[in-house]
Assembly symmetry: C2
Homo-oligomer: 182 residues x 2
């Protein structure tokens, strides 16, 4: 039994989409009172911090409909059912950036929005990058542009709002820590 | 016009909940093809990194139904309509931890799940913490337990999975950077 656990009385599926499923749960709170919980189910994702030999980071720019703007982010993508996160990471790195990597190291895994969603993102660092002659194509509804930025350039992108997401903000702090040998 | 912008043809509201609204948009991609976008609308949130004089960080443990487990996180909460993020931050800090702060500084703002949600989290650092004799109560469906942890203790909580969310992972890296004067 988890601390302050909420017992599920019933689960109602509101929407089953291509990417997300929305549920409305009736729960019993630790004090015995009833409450409702709105939950978004998501398959989970990976994000990769691709580090070039000279210290630059490979980033991708894409339009994010939810936010209504283009954003520059570390490469990322959804897990396919049953797929190991490291496999997803190598696939997404190739599809989004055209790079293969010699070394792929798990940094951490975190939930992005624990208040309403079960999405977790597995973060990886990729080193030993080499360009693939004919990289696999990504999803046909994905349009991405590559940016290879120094840490300072990426920090400036965060200052001016072109970088604006949690996983990339985390990645830049992490890369800075690596650089200063913390 | 944003890069790779997707033109909205129609928006269908699938679900209007207490916290989230779910939309299904028909869009036209940059290459002229149609696509669908599943979007979760969220009011946005704040998170606070409360730093005690001795360097410990004030954290809160609560049950997260979406993940099915209790998690230790930096204090956080949803924006009320029209409320300035700094006001929300002081309110949530008081309700969740019983602390007031002399100094509240904006660190950054990021989107948590840009692939499907518009939720942004405004991150603040709170210093000059003093205990409030009779703190305002939080939401009646919220049960939280306080943890005051050194950075090393918090990093251990991340290692063993009790800390498992993006905003707290970011907060710990940020606090470490502050400590080492980066």
């Amino acid at each position: 039994m988890e601390k302050f656990e909420e017992r599920t009385v019933s689960t109602k599926t509101i929407y089953e989409g291509k990417i997300i499923t929305v549920e409305l749960d009736d729960v019993i709170l630790p004090d015995g009172k009833p409450a409702k919980r709105e939950l978004v189910r998501h398959p989970g994702a990976v994000a990769i911090v691709p580090l070039l030999e000279d210290g630059r980071i490979v980033l991708v720019e894409q339009y994010r409909k939810a936010l209504g703007k283009s954003m520059i982010e570390v490469p990322a993508g959804k897990l396919e059912p049953g797929e190991a996160p490291a496999v997803t990471a190598r696939r997404e790195l190739e599809e989004e950036t055209g790079y293969a990597c010699a070394e792929l190291v798990h940094i951490t895994t975190f939930a992005t929005s624990p208040g309403f969603a079960d999405e977790v993102v597995h973060m990886f660092a990729a080193r030993g990058l080499t360009r693939i002659e004919e990289p696999a194509a990504g999803d046909e509804d994905e349009f991405v542009e590559l940016h290879e930025a120094t840490l300072e350039e990426a920090e400036a992108m965060m200052e001016d709002g072109r970088i604006f997401d949690a996983k990339t903000a985390f990645s830049l702090l992490w890369a800075k820590g690596q650089k200063t040998g913390r």
